[in-house]
């Protein structure tokens, strides 16, 4: 499985396709729109974006995945980490390829999928 939160001894990944993280809203909950690919190489980008969001009393976070092309288990790990930090996670309009990853990992209920 790809690196997840708290994994400090991973190798420097090869440069790969980039991930775009767009901070769309912040009220009532932060909405992050992801574009490109979320894998081990670009997980750092999303982690930095999540770290920079101050969690002052926000209950939950929303990920708009409509424009995301790929996500593997490192993305899953990040979403689970976000759930721990923000209390709950909603995943909006995931493409089929990503929806299947979430469902296969048995997290369709934990990461609430909203179409």
């Amino acid at each position: 499985m790809s690196p997840g939160p708290g994994d400090a001894d991973r190798d420097p990944g090869e440069p790969g396709p980039t991930l775009g993280v767009e901070y769309v809203e912040c009220r009532p909950v932060p909405v992050l729109r992801l574009t490109g690919e979320l894998d081990i190489a670009s997980a750092e980008t999303l982690q930095s974006a999540l770290d920079s969001i101050g969690s002052d009393g926000q209950a939950g976070i929303v990920f708009d995945l409509s424009a995301l092309d790929f996500m593997d288990s490192s993305g899953i790990a990040l979403l689970l980490g976000a759930r721990e930090r923000f209390g709950s996670v909603e995943v909006h309009r995931p493409p089929a390829i990503i929806r299947q990853v979430i469902e296969m990992t048995g997290l369709a209920g934990t990461l609430r999928i909203v179409e």
Partner: protein
């Protein structure tokens, strides 16, 4: 019949390219080479500075000598004036008596310049002295007086004799002018010369800083030496200046007596030498230091390579320790497993598989995938592996095993989670009970029929489960094979999981000599490009 279990667990991770930094340094042994270059350059500069200093010192000497010689030359107009005055008196009065008086009062008494002044008249009949003071001129003793005086032109140039031997020596000067009729008056004066080494020079004179030798004429014969402050001839590097002296010349040869140039200028070669040596030392030391650093960096690079190799060995050892090399034999089954590390081969991964025989007829198999990589993931994996073995040996069904396993891991504190597939196999009964915590579905090939078994996944181990995991029961015909794997085998860009699983189904060969061969064949077909993620796969084949 038990097939020899030979899960050749390939745990050799690919070696990463060693880091080598090449330094663009063409010369070896550079410190001494730089020192030699520095010394050569310093030597050249020092020599150049010394030469320049020398040259400037010499031109200073030349200038001083010229100045000194000029003071001698400057004496001539004064003498000329005196003699011309006397000449004028003689012509005006036509009387030698008045001339004598004049000569006495002017030149001899007051200036003490001449020891003898005489008036001569030169005519067609001869040349004879008609008046004078101070005693007979030395010239007349020599008998050449007439010849000399007859030859004095009336051009206004001072005629000068050679050195007249005597005690003291004398030098004679003559001026001529028209006399009565066609005759010519000649005024002739002699002054005494100090002995050659007896010339006293005032401290303000240009001669004060020089060691000099003054010659009458330009031939520098010892007999022409007028005065010298050092033994002659002067052999050291000297300047020599020739100046007019009446109708003759005077040569002044001089060497410096005191330091002519300022101290700094003379010190320039020493400064160049000192600075050059200093810079050479610094440069050589600097170069040696850089060479040393380069050697240290190369040494470090070598040690890094060694460390990489060591780390790969540790990873391999860990992998061997954590993953069973040999799966326990199970009667009636041919069981094999494969582990392929991903591209990041130095780190150990979190995939594992296990087979736990319960009794002769049943066994539990487990395949799992801990999130992340590295030693921490491996530690979590080891803990889960041994915990799951324990729960399996206690006789629990797969659902319970996973439920209990879920209590041992919490993503909030352990910072890892794991997907796990657990199955309880009844060998003679050809039945499998499967429970799934977030893991990809296993695939069953039963003769011509091959399909993934949809086992509804609960959340991964470590993520709080909202509901207990639902087990699934599957029947496996004789000779069928169940393949379980980790997600590295089905995570691909541009293809959904469903399609990837279907591709996997198609890759399982219908016939194979052994389960090991079956897995190898399947992997060969699926592993088209380089794996990013680790892959673990286990195959359970009913022999009957």
């Amino acid at each position: 019949m038990v097939d020899e279990p030979n899960p050749t667990v390939e745990t050799d991770p690919p070696a990463p390219a060693p880091v080598r930094r090449r330094f663009p340094w063409p010369i070896g042994g550079t410190g001494p080479a730089v020192a030699v270059i520095g010394l050569v350059v310093t030597g050249a500069l020092t020599w150049g500075a010394w030469r320049a200093n020398d040259r400037s010192t010499f031109s200073l000497l030349e200038g001083q000598t010229r100045q000194a010689a000029a003071t001698l030359s400057a004496v001539v107009p004064g003498i000329q004036t005196d003699l011309f005055d006397a000449l004028t008196v003689a012509r005006a009065t036509n009387s030698s008596t008045i001339f004598d008086q004049f000569a006495t009062s002017q030149s001899v008494a007051t200036k003490r310049q001449f020891v003898s002044v005489s008036l001569w008249r030169h005519s067609a009949t001869g040349t004879r002295m008609i008046g004078g003071i101070g005693g007979p001129p030395l010239l007349s003793r020599r008998g050449t007086a007439v010849r000399f005086l007859a030859g004095v032109p009336s051009t206004g140039t001072l005629s000068v004799t050679g050195i007249l031997a005597g005690s003291p020596r004398r030098l004679g000067y003559a001026e001529a002018g028209p006399g009565p009729g066609t005759s010519t008056y000649v005024v002739y004066a002699e002054s005494a010369l100090p002995p050659p080494s007896g010339l006293r020079v005032p401290s303000t004179s240009p001669f004060a800083t020089l060691n000099y030798a003054i010659y009458l004429g330009s031939s520098r014969q010892p007999s022409d030496l007028l005065a010298a402050s050092v033994p002659t001839p002067i052999r050291r590097v000297h300047a020599s200046v020739v100046v007019p002296f009446g109708d003759r010349t005077i040569t002044v040869v001089a060497t410096p007596r005191v330091r002519l140039a300022p101290v700094e200028s003379a010190a320039l070669p020493w400064i160049a030498l000192g600075v050059g040596l200093g810079l050479t030392v610094i440069a050589a030391a600097g170069v040696e230091y850089l060479a040393h650093r380069r050697r240290a960096a190369e040494e470090l690079s070598r040690r890094l390579d060694d460390l990489y190799a060591e780390q790969r060995t540790i990873a391999r050892t860990l992998q061997h320790a954590l993953l069973p090399e040999r799966l326990p034999p199970v009667p009636g089954m041919d069981i094999a497993a494969r582990y392929l590390p991903g591209a990041r081969g130095t780190d150990v991964g979190g995939d594992w598989y296990d087979v736990v025989p319960l009794d002769g007829d049943r066994f539990v198999f487990i395949i799992g995938d801990v999130s992340g990589r590295g030693v921490r993931a491996a530690a979590v994996m080891a803990a889960l592996r041994f915990a799951s073995r324990g729960f399996a040996l206690e006789g629990h069904d797969p659902g319970t095993i996973l439920g209990q396993l879920a209590r041992t891991l919490d993503i909030r504190t352990d910072e890892h989670f794991a997907t796990v597939l657990c199955g309880l196999v009844d060998v003679p009964g050809h039945r499998v009970v499967l429970a799934n915590a977030g893991h990809p579905p296993p695939v069953l090939r039963n003769g011509d029929h091959v399909a993934a078994i949809p086992v509804p996944p609960g959340p991964p181990i470590g993520v709080a489960a909202p509901d207990p995991v639902e087990p699934v029961v599957v029947s496996a015909g004789p000779g069928s094979v169940l393949v379980a794997y980790t997600d590295g085998l089905v995570e691909r860009r541009g293809i959904t999981l469903d399609d990837a699983v279907r591709r996997l189904e198609a890759a399982i060969p219908r016939d194979a000599a052994s389960t090991g061969d079956l897995l190898d064949s399947m992997l060969a077909e699926l592993m088209d490009d380089a794996l990013e993620d680790d892959v673990a796969v286990i195959g359970l084949r009913w022999l009957t």
